[in-house]
Point group: C2
Chain length 246, copies 2
DNA sequence: CTGAGATTAATAATCATATAATATGTCCGG
DNA sequence: CCGGACATATTATATGATTATTAATCTCAG
C-alpha cells in the first residue's frame, strides 16, 4: 500500500510538460497525430487534470493548439516561442543545430553590445561590482577554482542587469539558457583563457563610462563566437581533412 | 432553464487570465493577499479547473507563484515576463508609464537597426515585397485610406521577418503589442506624415543591400521616438508653460 | 529562556468522474 | 449537387474527494 516515495524535484505537471516538450520539438508527432487527452493520461499515468494543465502550458509556449472535436495539434515550428527558455533549451539540447545557434548568436550581437553601452552610461556601484564579480569568477575558473560556464554566464547576466532596463534584464533567462549550450560548443573549439582579456576590456569601458568602447568590445567578443560557428557550418570541402558530408 | 447564451469570444479560462492579469499589474493585490483557489472560484463564478488553469498560465507568465500551504502569491515585479505580449499589454494599457515606454524604445533601438542590417544582406524578393507593402500602407494611411497604426506595424514586422532569423521574428508579437500603444502616444505629439520618408530610406537601403545605411536609417527613426518620450518625461519646469507637477 | 524536533493545519496538487460545448463529418431530402 | 439536420469525438467545464507539502505552532529537554 505504501507508495514508492519517488522524490520528484518538480511537480507531475512540470515533469509532463518537460517530457512532452522534448517529444514535440524532436518531431515525435510529425507523422503520428498528437494523442488525445485521455490517451495522454493513460500513456503517462497522470490524471486528466495534470494532463490538461501540461497541455495548457505547452499551448502558452506556442507548441500546441487545442480545439474541441478537432483535438490537440502540434503547431508549425515558426509559432514556437523561442524566447521561452524551456522551448529554447529543448531545441538546443534535443535537436541541436548550428543554424539555430548562429541565429541566436546573431541576436546576441544586437542585444549585448547595446546593453554594454547602456551599462556604461548608467551602471551604479552595485551593478559594476556584479560585473566585476563575474569577471573574477572567470579568472578563478581559468585556475580551476570555479565553474567556467557559470562564471561566463554571471558576467553577461550582470551586464544585462546593469542596463537598468527591464527589457534587457528580461532577456537574461533566455540568453543564459542558450549560452549554457553555446559555451559547451565553443569550448570544444577554443580555450577560454584567451578571451578573459576581452571581457576585461568590456568592464574597463563600462567603469570608464565609455559606452562606445564597451559596445565595441562586446561586439568583438560575440563576433568571434559567431565566426567560430560560421566556420563550423562551412561546407566540409572548405576545411582541410573534413569528412565529406554526403 | 435555458442558459443566457452569453457569446464569449474566448474561453472562460482565458477570460479569467485576462481579468486577473490586469488586476495583478495594477497592484490590486499589493496590500491584500492573493485569494486562495476556492475564493477565486467563488469570486469569479468559475470552476476550480478553470481557476487552476488560469493560475497556471499566470504562473508561466511570471506573475504568480503557487506553493502548498503558503498559497498563491504575486511575484515581485522584476520577475514579470515583459517579453510576454499579454503582460506587456496589461502594463501599458492599465498602468501606463513613460518610463516603461522609454525602456521599450531603448530595446527597439538595439533590435531593429540590427534587423534592418540583416534584412539588407539577406532579404529575398518576397520579404522585400512585404516591407514595400507596409510602406505603401503608410502612404495610403496618410491619405486616410488605411489605418496608420496597422500600416506602421506592418512595416516593422516585415523587417523583422526579413532577417530570416527566427529570434528576431519571435520578437515581433511583443514589439507589435507595445508599438500599438507607443504609436498612440507619439501620434499625439507629432504627425505621421513626416517620417514616411525615413521609412522609405530604410527600404531603399535594404533593397540596395546596404546594411549599414539601413541600420542608420532605422536608428534615426527610433531615436526620434525615444527623444520624444524623453522630452515628455523631462521635469515640467524645463518646458514652457507646463503645469507644475505638485 | 532557547532551540531542536515533533505536531498540526492550511493550501495547493492530484485524482476520478460527470456534464456541457463545439467542431467535424455524414447522411438524407430536395 | 447542395444545404441543413443529426451523430459523434474531443476538448472545456464542473465538482467532490484524497494526497502532499510546508509554514506555523507546540513540546520539551537543556
Amino acid at each position: 500500500m505504501a507508495q514508492p516515495r519517488i522524490p520528484r524535484e518538480r511537480s507531475l505537471t512540470y515533469g509532463l510538460v518537460e517530457t512532452l516538450g522534448q517529444l514535440i520539438v524532436t518531431g515525435a508527432f510529425a507523422t503520428q497525430p498528437f494523442p488525445t487527452e485521455g490517451e495522454l493520461s493513460r500513456q503517462h499515468g497522470t490524471s486528466r487534470s495534470v494532463t490538461r494543465e501540461a497541455v495548457k502550458m505547452l499551448t502558452a509556449k506556442g507548441l500546441l493548439r487545442a480545439r474541441p472535436r478537432q483535438g490537440t495539434n502540434v503547431t508549425v515550428e515558426s509559432q514556437w516561442n523561442l524566447l521561452d527558455p524551456d522551448v529554447l533549451r529543448w531545441l538546443l539540447e534535443r535537436k541541436f543545430s548550428l543554424q539555430l545557434l548562429a541565429e541566436f548568436t546573431e541576436m546576441r550581437l544586437a542585444i549585448e553590445p547595446a546593453a554594454a553601452a547602456l551599462a556604461a552610461s548608467r551602471a551604479d556601484r552595485e551593478a559594476i561590482e556584479q560585473i566585476r564579480a563575474g569577471l573574477e569568477r572567470m579568472h578563478a575558473a581559468s585556475q580551476g577554482d570555479d565553474e567556467p560556464v557559470a562564471a561566463d554566464i554571471a558576467f553577461h547576466t550582470a551586464v544585462l542587469v546593469a542596463t537598468g532596463n527591464r527589457f534587457f534584464a528580461q532577456l537574461d533567462p533566455m540568453i543564459n539558457t542558450a549560452l549554457r549550450i553555446s559555451i559547451r560548443f565553443t569550448n570544444r573549439i577554443k580555450g577560454r583563457a584567451a578571451d578573459i582579456a576581452q571581457h576585461e576590456e568590456v568592464l574597463d569601458a563600462i567603469v570608464a563610462g565609455d559606452g562606445e568602447r564597451a559596445a565595441l568590445a562586446m561586439r568583438a567578443l560575440i563576433g568571434e563566437v559567431l565566426e567560430l560557428i560560421a566556420t563550423a557550418q562551412a561546407p566540409p570541402a572548405a576545411r582541410r581533412g573534413g569528412r565529406s558530408s554526403a
